[in-house]
Structures are given as C-alpha cells and as structure tokens.
Amino acid sequence: MRNTSLSRLLPMALRQLGRDSRSGELRVLFFALLVAVAASTAIGYFGARLNGAMVLRASEFLGADLLLNGSSEATAEQISAGKQLSMQHARLVEFSSVIATDNGIQLSSVKAADSNYPLRGELKSAAKPFAPESPGGVPQPGEAWVEARLLTALDLEIGDSVEVGQKLLKLTRVLTYEPDRAGDFYSLTPRLLMSLEDLPATGVVQPGSRVKYSELWRGTAEQIATYRNLIKPGMAPSQQLLGAQDGNRQVSGALGRAERYLNLASLAAILLAGVAVALSASRFAQRRFDASALLRCLGLSRKEVMQLFSLQLAILGLLASCAGALTGWLAQMGLFQLLGDLLPQEIPSGGFAPMLAGIATGLVALTGFALPPLAALGRVPPLRVLQRDLLPLPASGWLVYGAALLSLGLIMWRLSLDLQLTLSLLAGGLVAALLLGGLLLLSLKGLRRLLAGASLPWRLGLGQLLRHPLNAAGQALAFGLILLCMALIALLRGELLDTWQEQLPADAPNYFAMNILPADKLAFAQQLEDLSAQPAPLYPMIQGRLIEINGQSVKQLVSKESTGERSIQRDLSLTWAADFPTDNRLIEGQWWTEKALKNQAPQVSVESRLAESLQIKLGDLLTFNIGGVERQAAVTSLREVDWDNLKPNFYMIFSPGSVSDLPTTYLTSFFLPPGNDRELVALARAFPAITLLQVDAILEQLRSILAQVTLAVQFVLLFVLAAGLSVLFAGLQSTLDERLRQGALLRTLGAERRLMIRTRWAEFGMLGAASGLLAAVGCEIISALLYTYAFDLTWQPHPWLLTLPLIGALVVGIAGVLGTRRSLNASPLTVLREA
C-alpha cells in the first residue's frame, strides 16, 4: 500500500494553503487568531510591564529596590557582593537624638544619608515652611534639612543652626517629602536629614547605641535576586532584607488585586480566542468535506487526510500567532506611549515572555478548539463524491471537547498561576454551557410551534436560527460568553475600584498625633475636636517587645523572614482597651467584658495574621518586655485587622488594668482639610511634646498608584471588548455564504431591503437577547463564586445585569446587521451563477 510521508504532504499543504489564502474562512480564522493572540499578548505585556512599573513605584516606598537593614553595620563582604554585581548603592544611618537649641529640646529622628540617597524616588524640599516644594538634592556636609514641625517645636527658622551631638549643622531647607517614609510611620518623630560625612563628628553613634543601618541597593530584578541569594546565608540575626513587595502593606495589597484582575482579563481573552477559533475552524472543515472525500477516493488514508489539513491549520496558526504577537506588542507600546505622563519614566520592557505566551496560547487554543471540526474531516465518507449530502459521522464529542477543555484549563492555569481562579472560571463556564445550552435548545425547539402565527420577518429570522438549533444554541452560548466576560469584568472593575476607593475615603485621616502625655490628654482632645470633625479616639500606647510564648523564647519559635520574625525584632506598639475596636473582626475566642475581668489574670487579644505566623493559639501565655519590666498575659481572642484604613491599629490589645500602670503616651489620627497649616502649627506649639505626623504624602502616593491601576483596568476592559467584538464578527462571517444565498434569493423573489433588514434584526436581536440572558445568569453565578473564594468580597445580587438581554439584543443586533450587510447588497444574479 502506498504511504504518503509527512515530507510529501507538507509541500501539498503549503500549495493548498497558498491557493486558499484568499478564501473567506481562512481569512476569518487567521483574523480570529490574530486578534485573540494580539489581545492576550498585549494584556500579557501590559500586565507584566505595569506590574513592573508598580513594583518600581513600590520601590519608592523603600527608596531602593532592596534594603538591607540591621542594628549593626553591614559587613564588608555584604557590601562588596553588591558592588561586584554592579548594583547602585547608597547608605543610611538612622537614630533618635535630642536636638537642643536655646529655645528647648526635641527628640528627633535623625537620618544621615550619603550623596547617592535615594536610589528610587526623590527627596522634596522647600526654601521655607509652606513655600512651594522642589524635588531632588540631598544635604551637603555641614547642612541639615528638617521638617517644618521641628522648626515649630523649637521656634527655629531656616538659616539657624542646631547641634546634633557635638556637630553644629546649619538648617538650609525644609524637608517636605521622603520617598521611603511611608513604610513605618508609627515610630516617627520629626525628621532631621544630614550628610553621612558629618556623622563621625557628631559622636552620637557609639558602640551599643540604638542605631539602624540601611544599605540601599538598586539593580535589575536578576541582580536583586542574585544578591538576595548571595547574602542570605551569611546574614546576622539582627539583619533583615526588604524588597519592593514587602515595602508597604497597602501597596502590595493593591498590586495583588491588580494582578488578579489582569489575569482574569487575559483568561477572558483566551476564552474568546477559543470561541473564535472554534467557529472559524468549523467552517474551514465544512468547506473541505468535498475535498476530503475526493482525496480519500484518490487513495489517501484517513490519517493522511487529517495530517494534510492539520498541517495547513498549523502553518496558518503559526503565522497568525506570530503576526498577532507582533500586533499585541505594538498595541501595548502605543498604550504606554499614551500613558506616558502617568507612568514612571522607566518601565521594564517585559521581555519576550508575554509574546511567547501569546503565541503558545494561540497555538494551544487552535489545537484544542480546531480538533473537533478537524476530526470530522477524517471521517468524511469517500462516497460523498457521488452523494454530496453524505455527512461525516459525529465524533465522540465528550472525548474531543474534554481534551480541548483540559488543554484550555492547563494554559489558563499556567498563565494565571491561580488554580482557584481557573477552576472557578472553567467550572462556571462548563456548568453554564451544559445547563444553559440545554435550556436554550429546548426553548428554541419550543419556539418552532409559536412560529406559525408570526410575521414574515420573524419567521424568516427565527427560521434561520431554527434551521440548525444546535448551532443557534452554540452561537447564543458563544455570544453569551463574550457578554458574560465583559459584564463580569465591568462588574469586578466597579467592585474592586469601589473597594480600593473605600479604602481611601476623601476624609481618611491625614495626620497622626503621637507622644500625647497623660497630662495633656484631655486638653489635646478638646483642641482636636475644635479642629477636626471626627477625630479617632485617643489610644494608650506603650512600646514593648514579645519575648516568650508559653515560657519558650520566641526567637527559637519562628522562622526567618516571616512577619513574625520581623515583629519580634522590634518594639511593637501595644495598647489596652475595654471595648472591641470597631474596624476589627473577631476571628476566635471572646472579647472581655468588664465584669469578667475582675479577679482575672491579664488577657491579650492578638492580630490573627501575626498569631498565625507565630503559631499563637487561644490560651497561650505571652511574655512581654515593656521598658525593662516583664508582663504576662493569656491570649483570649484573635482579631482580623484592616491595615489599609490608615487608622491606629494594634497587633496586641491588653485587657484594661493589665499594663495600665506602666508609663503611657497616647496616639490618635485625624483629618484636617488642606489649607489649615496655621492651625496645625498652633496645635504643635500648644503641645510641644506631641509629635504630629502628616500622612498626606503617603496618601498621595497611594492615590497615584490607584490611578494607574484604574487606568490599566479600563484599558484592559477596552481590549477585551475589542476582542469580543472581533470574535462576534468572525462568527457572523462564518455564516455569510448561506446568508448571501438567502439574501440573493429573497431579492430575486422581490423582497425589499427593509424586509431583509427587519429579518436580520429579528434573528440577531433574538440571538443577542438569549445571549444576554445567559450572560446575566452566568455572571451572577461566577461572580458569587469569585467574590466568595477568590476576592474575599461580600456578594450581593446585581439587578443591573437584567439589562444584559437588552444590551445583548442591541449589540448583537447592530453587529449582526452590520456584519451581514454584504448579504443585503448581494446581487440576485448570484442565484443564477450558482446554478
């Protein structure tokens, strides 16, 4: 028996592909793949690059890409390791010091920086208090930049000199912004920034003094990762590494959500790709039934016929995917060009990964979705050459579509790295397809009976749908899927943004007041009430360190680099309270009541994530070192804390009476509208011991990041919409032949344009409405799953989804009428030519 090898089939496949390249269905398939790959590549690039940009912005919160902190100086090896990797380096030494002048003294947080600082972001300063700020620069030797509140506290002016230890420094500028200040604002006192060169002369830093040394590094992600691995083994217990992701809770929270959102959008694009490919591949196969039968007659085996057509599709898929990847790359370049003003100057390139992922996505989608129609080609009976109406036997659909679904699931999972998200999307899609598709099929068949009494356009339009009820159900599902993706994304976009915005309401506290002495408490609260509408309560605050859990030293209990590890390295802000904090949520145990507290041992409520990290359980006995005094308390409850709300939050809350005998200061936060700086100065003067911390700058940084994320979200939505519409048109194209024939015939029989347009409206409006209904139901089911399991949001029904059938009828109706307008203009002569 003759055996046609693959090498002989290849030139044949190429020849046929070249000849068929002008045929409609190949163009549609090419276009569908191109759009899908372009969309997923562009979203991939956009996600990767935006993520990179956001990490860069997050780096600003550190002032660097990587921070090596320690209570002792970094070793020479640790420094030279970084320099050998050619990374940029800066050094900071921070300590608390009392600044003394003739007018008084003020405990200040001194930062000595070398001339390279900061490596990410810029310092901002002004010539005098409340003057316009300008970016850049760093204090020169002999100079100091200070925050305005230090000037207020000590009644100083720019040009005066202050003593830091034994060194006299001249105040040259007002420090208004430090990029890395956001990280740890609870422990701040007024800042004085000086040159590192002056540090030895101050004599402040002596062996044993409490000093924080920071080595700042800036480099590529690769360099940073290499450096991390290099120095990790040799790090002292007192040293810690901080990367951009650890920099700030609010930022990493926003990054996490944005990443999930972008993943969801690219998954939607992949699903759309599948729909487009399935539609056009099916047309590709149908139009090759005759050729397949002829080739079988001429002696080609089923396998060879399959190979021949698979080769054609593979070549086409590869070409379309490459073109799509290139288009996607260009599209995202254009977008970043457009967003130039809003995004940081340096945006990482994104590399080749999104392009390769886009191409792979296109090819896998082609394989998965083109397989069932292609398999039909192998089963075309050769007898079809004599009897044209002989169709191939139907495939074992479960197996073929199961394989397609599995490959799609795998690629979704690989791209999203989120099994839960992938599974809920796949499961939602499957359940929707089976249940809703079945329902749709039944109702379409039911419609047949109603048709008899309908007017001509309705009967013609619905007749077109009813001719192949399975196809119509499939199309409604496909368009339904597109609408569902768009609705889901619009819904999540609104929901997520609302959550982000709620996190930062316009009147979020913009000042923290700390070190309020017990004697000043009442007077300060009174004055604050006059200034601010709703100040937070005054919380007692004592600094203390957790040293033992159930008598065992915590240092032996926790792993390095965990939140727990960091929290036992430094003093925690501790408080006590009679009432449960309103923004917290009780996870386990019980909050104390005043009655129950009497005659009971001290109790403590622990923040749940810290408890998890330190493996603290209810009933554990914790030992704290508070200013040299050891105190014990039993854990009676675990709380979930919303760290994003910018209000005073505490890891540990003691029961009243358990630590209240120890020296205490008070802490609060409040909102002061901009433009009230004078009142603030008056407040600072009235209570000189109090430290006021402005968080406006931090809020501004957060808002700017949120603005970027919002923009990204909107752009991605636009892209999915464009992809969805292209797929819709691709679907319409695949039925164009039949419509052209029907249009020409109706014209021949004397139908006017108006009737034909009304027929189209009836058909596509009905299809769109059905799709919209499916989308609304599917969207509610999937959103409920996603909210509950993926995003941790409370789900509520969305009545506006009921407009989807109307939107579906309009969108699909308009697209349908536009997409098939060629058939309205079809020359009636076509009917004669076909004969």
């Binding site: 109406d389 001509l456 009967r459 013609l460 007749g463 077109q464 009813l466 001719r467 024939r741 029907q742 015939l745 109706l746 014209r747 021949t748 029989l749 004397g750 139908a751 006017e752 344009r753 009737l755 020359s827 009636p828 002569l829 009917v831 004669l832 030519r833 076909e834 004969a835």
Partner: protein
C-alpha cells in the same frame, strides 16, 4: 390589450476583465407576446444566463432597454425592480433554490407574503396539492427529493400569478424521467394560467416544446426559430 409583455432593444452587456473589456451580450433585440413561450439556447458561455438575469431585472445592462410588463427596468433602482419582480415575475432554477429554513408550505407562501396577500397559506396549499405535494406541506427541503424540491419551486413560481415565468435549466439537475414530468407540469401550469414562459436550456426536447427559440453564440443572437 398590449400583446407584448417583454420588449428588448439594443441590449448589450460589457464587463471589465484583466484583458480589457469583455462583451458578454451584444445588440440583442426581440419582443415577446403575453402568454407566449420562449427558449433561449446556446453553448456554455454564450450569455444565456446573463440574458435571463437582465430580462428579470436581476442585473442592469451596459446599454439598451428592457420593458417588462410595461416597466422600463433600466430606469428603476434595485428596490423598485424588486417590486416589479414581486408583482410580475416568477422563477424556477436549476438548483431549486428553496430556503432551507422554511418548510415546503412556507417556501411557497413566501412570494405571496412579499406581495402582502392575506390568503397566502390557503393558496400555497392549493398549489402544492396541484403539483402533487399535498401530503408534504410541513417537510423541509432537506427531507424532499430533487424532483419534489423542483415541484415546490414550480409551485412557488406560480404562487403569485406571475405574468412572466423565468426558468433557468429547470430540468438540469434531474434524471430524464423526473425531468420529463417536471417540464410537463411547467407547461401545463403555463397554459392553465396564461403565463408567459422564458426558459434557458441545453435540452433540445424542452426547447422544442416552446413556441419560439432563440440561439445565442458569443453574446449575439444568431438564429430565431418558431415551432
């Protein structure tokens, strides 16, 4: 009463092609009386189907005039010509051209509904019974044989009582026995209803059943015969 239903003067059709202009029909002239039957014969590519398309107002000539049932077709736009077809013209095609989405009855009702007639259902039923398909009213085209499909097409063609029936190789896709029966039906109905018949065919026997035959060669009318 005007005896002429179809009048053709100086009719030419020229189309652009890669080698320049291609003349498909050149200076065709004839006149057809109401109720007459005319066969257009000629070899493949002689311009028969193009002529049929022009006569029915499916396309416009490059020059010349066609007057169909008193309407100067060359002066009408596509929608106006569609109205003329709905009122005066019926068609039978070689490949039947039934709408797959409609059943036999609905296919026959179609031209009546396009005309806006209320008795569409009843008339269509009568016609289908007349062509012997009274038992197949609700069958869809794919459930019917070729001969049955062509009978539905003939019923549809006569449904709106056309003045002129254009038939393009009406027996071309059928075996000789079925073809014979279909052409009998066609001529019977033609006589019963006094319809003018214009048909394009290769079949010499079918052509011979028409009162007049015109032969096209290279786009020109070369001979005319009267049976």
């Amino acid at each position: 009463m005007n005896a002429s239903i179809l009048n053709v003067k100086h009719l030419s059709k020229v189309v652009p092609s890669a080698e320049g202009e291609l003349t498909i029909l050149e200076q065709i002239e004839f006149d057809l009386a109401r109720g007459a039957s005319l066969a257009i014969v000629g070899s493949s590519g002689s311009g028969k189907s193009t002529l049929l398309g022009l006569l029915a107002g499916l396309d416009l000539p490059s020059s010349g005039e066609i007057i169909l049932a008193g309407h100067q077709l060359t002066r009408l736009d596509e929608d106006q010509r569609a109205r003329v077809r709905a009122e005066h013209v019926g068609f039978v095609f070689q490949s039947f051209q039934l709408l797959d989405s409609l059943n036999a009855l609905e296919n026959v009702m179609l031209p009546l509904e396009l005309e806006g007639r209320d008795d569409a259902g009843q008339r269509a039923r009568e016609l289908l019974e007349r062509v012997g398909l009274g038992q197949r009213l609700t069958h869809y085209p794919r459930q019917l044989s070729g001969g049955e499909q062509q009978r539905v097409a003939i019923a549809r063609a006569f449904a709106a009582d056309p003045d002129v029936l254009f038939a393009d190789e009406p027996t071309g896709n059928l075996d000789s026995h079925t073809g014979e029966r279909i052409s009998d039906l066609l001529f019977q109905l033609n006589q019963e209803r006094g319809t003018t018949l214009v048909l394009v065919t290769h079949d010499a026997r079918l052509a011979a059943r028409c009162q007049r035959q015109i032969r096209l060669e290279g786009g020109q009318l070369v001979t005319e015969a009267v049976s």
